[in-house]
């Protein structure tokens, strides 16, 4: 009996749960190179392929550059394709990462987010994914193991939608999500088959109907090609929500592009992404208990950025405390804060905003960090000052 046959919650490491979900999604090709903290995902997939639970080609490669190259090839040939990486691995495959969207290959890649060296660091932050922010993939952040498991299936559905046809990055925090044992409810295999039918496309490399992909984009066509790719990415947003809604109709777990928590009457809102949002929720509960009018806005979808949904989520809020897990050396704010400030600039009723860098290189993010950023953001807002980011807890 497989772990995914259980109808009750299973205590399982999130990495393994994701591999099991990729099995349920019936990926046909997995090409990957192991790198901490992503390794357990592809290691478990290689087990599933070897023991016959997943009928797929597992392609061990000598580098991440080759991993994604193999994935692009297999996806271009019409196979449902999965890979996973982290940090230095993502850096090493970066060249291919930027090519995949223009080829419109619906690869799903899990990125177990980890700091980039140096100094050498294997722990969690978002510097890897933010360094390829402009790669053109759909990018999403999972909050907990259940979400990571569900999204490992939903992501194929979105990527392969004929109206989308874009590669998809599923971000999970390295260690603080990937290596947690927690309760997971596995979606029933037969229902997954209905939700996610086999991948079919006419846009593929086929000997019977030859076509070329990845040609030269001379000055006469390069801009058009880039614009077309961005149109595809921007245009994917309603199909992301549509897939979430259809998943909810079958499996009962509803996801949105932007999630809000206790935002009723909130004057201050924390903005966060990824698994720290769970700790932030508990911090918000404790602050609410103490009478603080505070809530949480979590970005699940990062690209395409859910502009309207975000603006709606923070409407009426006086102060935003925006959390970044990466920073932009030489610039006053991190990437998430920069984007949100840009989005809010034209709003008549825009909130005061402060930016806090938390949890770099695996530094723990406890509840009191969220309490601190709320207090600090309120003070800065009251003083009318908004400026340089604060790296919370840094020893100077």
């Amino acid at each position: 009996m497989s772990v995914t046959d259980s109808t009750k919650p299973v205590g399982i490491e999130v990495s393994l749960a994701m591999a099991e979900a990729v099995k349920l999604a019936e990926a046909e090709v997995v090409a990957a190179y192991p790198i901490t903290p992503q390794t357990h995902i592809v290691e478990h997939l290689s087990d599933l392929v070897a023991n016959g639970e997943l009928e797929a080609a597992y392609i061990p490669v000598e580098s991440e550059q080759s991993a994604l190259s193999a994935c692009i090839g297999s996806s271009a040939a019409g196979a449902r394709t999965f890979t996973a990486t982290s940090s230095q691995g993502l850096m090493y495959m970066a060249e291919m990462v930027f090519i995949a969207p223009m080829l419109r290959v619906p690869i799903v890649m899990a990125v177990a987010n980890r700091a980039i060296s140096g100094p050498i660091n294997i722990w969690n932050d978002h510097s890897d994914i933010m360094s390829v922010r402009d790669c053109g993939w759909i990018q999403i952040f999972a909050e907990n193991g259940q979400e990571a498991t569900d999204l490992s299936i939903i992501s194929f559905r979105i990527a392969e939608d004929k109206n989308v046809m874009m590669p998809f990055i599923l971000n999970i925090d390295g260690f603080t999500l990937s290596h947690f044992i927690e309760p997971i409810v596995f979606p029933e295999a037969a229902k997954v088959k209905k939700f996610l039918p086999p991948y079919e496309t006419t846009h593929k490399l086929d000997l019977a109907k030859p076509m070329s992909m990845g040609l030269l984009g001379a000055p006469e066509y390069y801009a058009e090609s880039k614009k077309a790719t961005d149109n595809a990415l921007l245009g994917s947003k309603p199909y992301v929500q549509k897939a979430f809604d259809e998943y909810a109709a079958i499996f009962g777990r509803q996801y949105k592009l932007v999630e809000t928590y206790r935002m009723e009457g909130a004057e201050t809102a924390i903005v966060a992404m990824g698994s720290i949002a769970e700790t932030a929720m508990t911090a918000v509960d404790e602050m609410r208990e103490a009478g603080e009018k505070v809530g949480l806005v979590r970005l699940r979808l990062w690209r395409p950025f859910p502009v309207e949904e975000f603006r709606a989520a923070v409407r009426g809020v006086k102060t935003l405390a925006v959390v970044d897990r990466h920073f932009t050396p030489g610039f006053p704010e991190g990437p998430v804060a920069t984007e949100i400030r840009a989005l809010m600039y034209h709003e008549d009723d825009r909130p005061r905003m402060s930016n806090f860098i938390l949890g770099l290189g695996g530094r723990d993010v406890p509840r009191n960090h969220f309490k601190y950023v709320v207090e600090k953001a309120k003070d800065l807002g009251a003083a009318g000052r908004q400026g340089q980011y604060e790296m919370v807890g840094v020893q100077e």
Partner: protein, 183 residues
């Protein structure tokens, strides 16, 4: 919610203990999470692992800073690590030791309730190796009422297989029966 911190040395199974206890709690219908203090694994070096068990969904991912319970798999870590860090006085320390509780209290100055079990002796007899994880799980389960010998049977079988699982079950049960708690 009960928050538990495990202290041991690399190779003794502190991480496995936390994971198996979480899996046992989840299979009994509770919510639980387990995770190690992440880092390169080094055999023999002090290791910490964390466990939360609750009747409600757990929405917190910080380390355990104020444990209700601390499990010490290897008494030698007590001289290099402050195992009671962050604990309030109403917590309980469960220590692998054959020494009298009074002597331990005197040496380390613990203010919490203490429980001891001669885990090394049980592990060597039942498992033939000085790995104290399932033994300490037995002590923890008894002291905190978080699992019974029946609850762990399936998780142990899943983890250790038909040859080793019965021995680990026996080790668990012996600690469950023999753990000594003050007062």
């Amino acid at each position: 919610m009960i928050e538990i911190r495990f202290h041991g040395r690399g190779g003794q199974g502190a991480v496995t203990s936390a994971e198996l206890m979480a899996q046992t709690a989840i299979s009994s219908g509770k919510y639980a999470q387990a995770f190690p203090s992440f880092g390169p694994e080094r055999r023999g070096a002090p290791v910490t692992a964390f466990l939360r068990i609750s009747d409600q969904p757990i929405r917190i991912r910080e380390k355990v800073y104020a444990p209700n319970v601390v499990v010490v798999l290897d008494p030698s870590v007590m001289s290099v690590t402050k195992v009671d860090a962050g604990m309030s006085d109403d917590g309980v320390l469960i220590i692998n030791s054959a020494h009298p509780v009074a002597a331990i209290r005197k040496q380390y100055g613990f203010r919490q309730k203490l429980a001891t079990v001669d885990a090394l002796h049980i592990a060597l007899e039942e498992l033939k190796v000085p790995i104290t994880n399932t033994v300490m799980m037995g002590a923890l389960s008894r002291i905190c009422g978080v699992a019974t010998p029946d609850d762990v049977r399936a998780p142990l079988m899943e983890r250790f297989g038909p040859t080793l699982a019965p021995r680990n079950q026996k080790a668990f049960e012996r600690a469950f029966e023999s753990v000594k708690v003050e007062g």
